[in-house]
Symmetry: C2
Subunit: 244 residues, 2 copies
DNA sequence: GCCAAATCAAATGTCAGACGTTTAATTGTC
DNA sequence: GACAATTAAACGTCTGACATTTGATTTGGC
């Protein structure tokens, strides 16, 4: 764990990288306490503010956490699904919003991923998840539901579908992707008239999962995907006429 | 963009969150220059080191970049696929290594995702990608290839498969997942005797893509998945006997 | 001898001021 | 007008200090 002090303009980045490598390689196990800031400063032959900047970089990636007080310090953080998930959502959201990713590209990716876990979900779904999905479908049928609430319910429905696969790695990957794409999706599903069709497809998906029918589930997901793309085309066409 | 100075222990985190929100919400567009560190310090009524810690947090997430010199400063970074990809790999790698994710879980997730883009890949693959896959297969047949090199080639092969779908969002998601799982996979594919079978499956996959045969491609991927799991069982069983 | 309160010490969080370095714009000269 | 020297703005780093938190230690009382 050494750095090159002769190549300065970024000592804090070098130190952060050195510590990160130690964590990733397992040299520093979970919950291990790092040396104090003063000790690290001495070890790397830099000042304490520089060490602190390095630690803040690691904290931003949830690699470490800090505690104040006598037995305080920086500790190696256990990476939780929840944290990784949250991180992935911000990253993916920015990625999509800053790179003019077309709706069809995002939509295609989303449904491809979702269909990937449909077979597993059909096989392993629990009654709880079916109940959750049906409850969301009921909410979505309420005409008084605002567009925002409808979209939130849509997320919850698909989240339940993904979780039904009972694979935490898959859930983490997919839930992040689905949520990140939601801002794009929202633009499409706002026209209220499309709700009935979407709800019908949701119902078909839930029922297919209930009877462990992977084939039907996949077909209905495909139908939902193509319907969503179709809607998108309509919306974009209307928008182009509106703002020439 | 204000903070609460009365609730200190983490002014830098509050400032980082405030700036991050401004970026995510689009208030600060890409390539916009943030105020100088001194100006930010004055604006938030904190010292310059505190502002710097906040900026380092954002830099760690690739949300900003900094330049020195007269027209220097912090600029809002465009989130690139490459950066998001690199970030996802470190996060996912740590997530897997720190949470005792079972091999079957990781393997299942990986192949589920990979099979998700197989239909698209079969439809859109270019000759370049087929050539790349065949080249990797040739390398994998060399008995002199080290285990590390074989695994690297394995990654390249699957990366080409994913890229053949020609969907950058899908590539970003999947390539991250595949690479993050590689350390786990490596433990399995090390026994050299399994290489021939793996190479044969790779060849079958490449040939199916070449003739745009999505069904066969999916079947061969499924076969590769089950063979990998089978190998894993063997390895783990042997290990248990070895270290009782 | 035991329990509670006061004290202490270690560590992070924050601040102020300073100096060095990089970089682009400005100025001055030929 | 082109090129070189100067200047100024900004980041990168250092030093030293004080505040705050928090667990451990010591002290005091009973």
């Amino acid at each position: 764990m050494q750095i090159d002090p002769s190549n300065p303009p970024d000592l804090s980045a070098q130190i952060a990288a050195a510590i990160r490598d130690a964590i990733v390689s397992g040299t520093l196990p979970v919950d291990e306490r790092l040396p104090s800031e003063a000790e690290l400063a001495e070890k790397f032959a830099v000042s304490r503010p520089t060490v602190r900047e390095a630690l803040k970089r690691l904290a931003a990636q949830a690699l470490i956490r800090t505690q104040r007080g006598a037995t305080g310090g920086a500790f190696v953080n256990r990476q939780t699904y929840a944290e990784a998930h949250a991180q992935q959502i911000t990253t993916a959201t920015l990625l999509l919003s800053m790179n003019e990713v077309s709706f069809v590209t995002a939509c295609e990716a989303r449904y491809a991923l979702e269909r990937a876990c449909a077979p597993l979900a059909a096989q392993r779904r629990t009654d709880d998840q079916i109940a959750l999905m049906l409850a969301e479908i009921s909410r979505q049928q309420d005409p008084a539901l605002t567009d925002e609430a409808f979209c939130a319910s849509d997320i919850a429905f698909h989240r339940a579908l993904v979780d039904a696969a009972h694979n935490p790695v898959l859930s983490y990957q997919l839930a992040g992707a689905v949520e990140a794409m939601q801002p794009l999706m929202n633009m499409i599903t706002y026209p209220a008239r499309s709700r009935a069709r979407i709800v019908a497809l949701h119902r078909a998906i839930a029922e297919a999962l209930e009877v462990h029918d992977a084939t039907t589930c996949d077909a209905e997901l495909a139908a939902l995907a193509s319907y969503t793309e179709e809607l998108a085309e309509t919306v974009f066409a209307a928008r182009q006429v509106q703002t020439p």
